[in-house]
Subunit: 286 residues, 2 copies
Amino acid sequence: MVLEKRSVTVVGLGLMGGSFGMALKANRACREVIGVARRPETVTVAQELGAVDRATTELGIVAEADVVVLATPVRSIVELVPSVGGLVRPGCLVMDLGSTKAAIGRAMDALPKHVQAIGGHPMCGKETSGLAAAESALYRGKVFVLTPLDRTHRKALALAHELVDAIGARPVVLTPERHDRLVAATSHLSYLMACGLVQAAEALAQGDQMLWELAASGFRDTSRLAGSDVTMMMDTLLTNREAILEALGICTAELDRLAEMVREADEYRLRRTLGGARERRRSVFP
Amino acid sequence: MVLEKRSVTVVGLGLMGGSFGMALKANRACREVIGVARRPETVTVAQELGAVDRATTELGIVAEADVVVLATPVRSIVELVPSVGGLVRPGCLVMDLGSTKAAIGRAMDALPKHVQAIGGHPMCGKETSGLAAAESALYRGKVFVLTPLDRTHRKALALAHELVDAIGARPVVLTPERHDRLVAATSHLSYLMACGLVQAAEALAQGDQMLWELAASGFRDTSRLAGSDVTMMMDTLLTNREAILEALGICTAELDRLAEMVREADEYRLRRTLGGARERRRSVFP
């Protein structure tokens, strides 16, 4: 239990960073939570909401930190890593909450030897982004992937575990590559399918606004992720292109197969395929 | 207000039929609600739950009805229509709750002249099927499509409106063909994408069970419809093949376009497309 004596700085006070600060503070998990935001208004709001003990727009504040948590979109994290590495004290742990891990892992590998580093990705979120949507319970009971690097000391991994426990999440340790391949097939593919569905419905409507009147809870849920923050998702997609292209290819092939069964009115194959998908879905989400 | 003096028979006591009976009874909207189910156990449970005033396994009971509501999967409705038509009293209104309307409309067109008929499709449901999931509030505030035929008398349309009002839904009048084209682009496409997503994730996992551990709320919602009742969906798909094939074709083309943008890291087009989908989604579900 070393976390309680530590000062944690969260860089990026949106939904994920704001909720992280709130969860640490709600559980009195560390000595203090300092926030860094790009915009002065966010600094003010974060303090008002109690997401942090204090906040600033100056990245230099990380020099005071024992732990730095980078909570911005992935490509911004990749840019922040070397800057933060040049500012922190020896032994400081740099962690992140980015949606892909391999690109960030490569940036972390180039950090000075006296800096500790580990990747992190909490498997949760909301389609509403921004600090206003933050809540201390966001991480509670959710899987939090940790991606240690070869350079990650076991004490740094233990501290990361403590951080995950402190916000109520469930740690799972993976390599960055395995993480990226698996989330391509779950979250990234889900997001692109939601966007594809909305685009297709728009094209098929041919201006008939009644289509949106008929869009019931099924369409609402299937398309929910299309409302995600675009900048965050752009960074996610563009730092995991290979795995995403493989996932999209497999998925359109599955849709083509379903189309063939519908075209041929192949009841036997159709029932077996749809029944298989139903069983699998129900085994994952009973 | 003629409904309150009428006897309504609901054929098929699953989620939709059971909820329909419950809603009529909760609002004391008609003289009595009689249920018809295939299995004796369903008859017992429907009476215990108060979904109907009385129930039977005998279809012949429709001879007593002023209104018959067919609440089974689409192809079963298509088979039931002529049987029911041969049993009901002159002036009886035959309505249905089926997910596609053109095939049912053709069956209704062949009914004897003394029978009134109209198609109906409530835009709601649950991924849990069966009477146990039924609830009187299922239809409240939801769009309920009515598809009158050329033969539908204006008094029959008025009575159908009363039924829709009585269960708390919002009536929308469409032709069967327009209905089928629009729901192909919303519900049927959503369902097939959910199934395709689950199948693709299974294929991409290559046996790595960790994939399902990482499946968070995004995957859960995008795949939700894959848990739908397979028999109901088979009937839906196989009675709307042309529109569904068009929708699937447009959708896989959209996914191919997204793949191309990711492959080429075309930030401008990708941001514009994802941003467009986000705006559209947020305008439909604010």
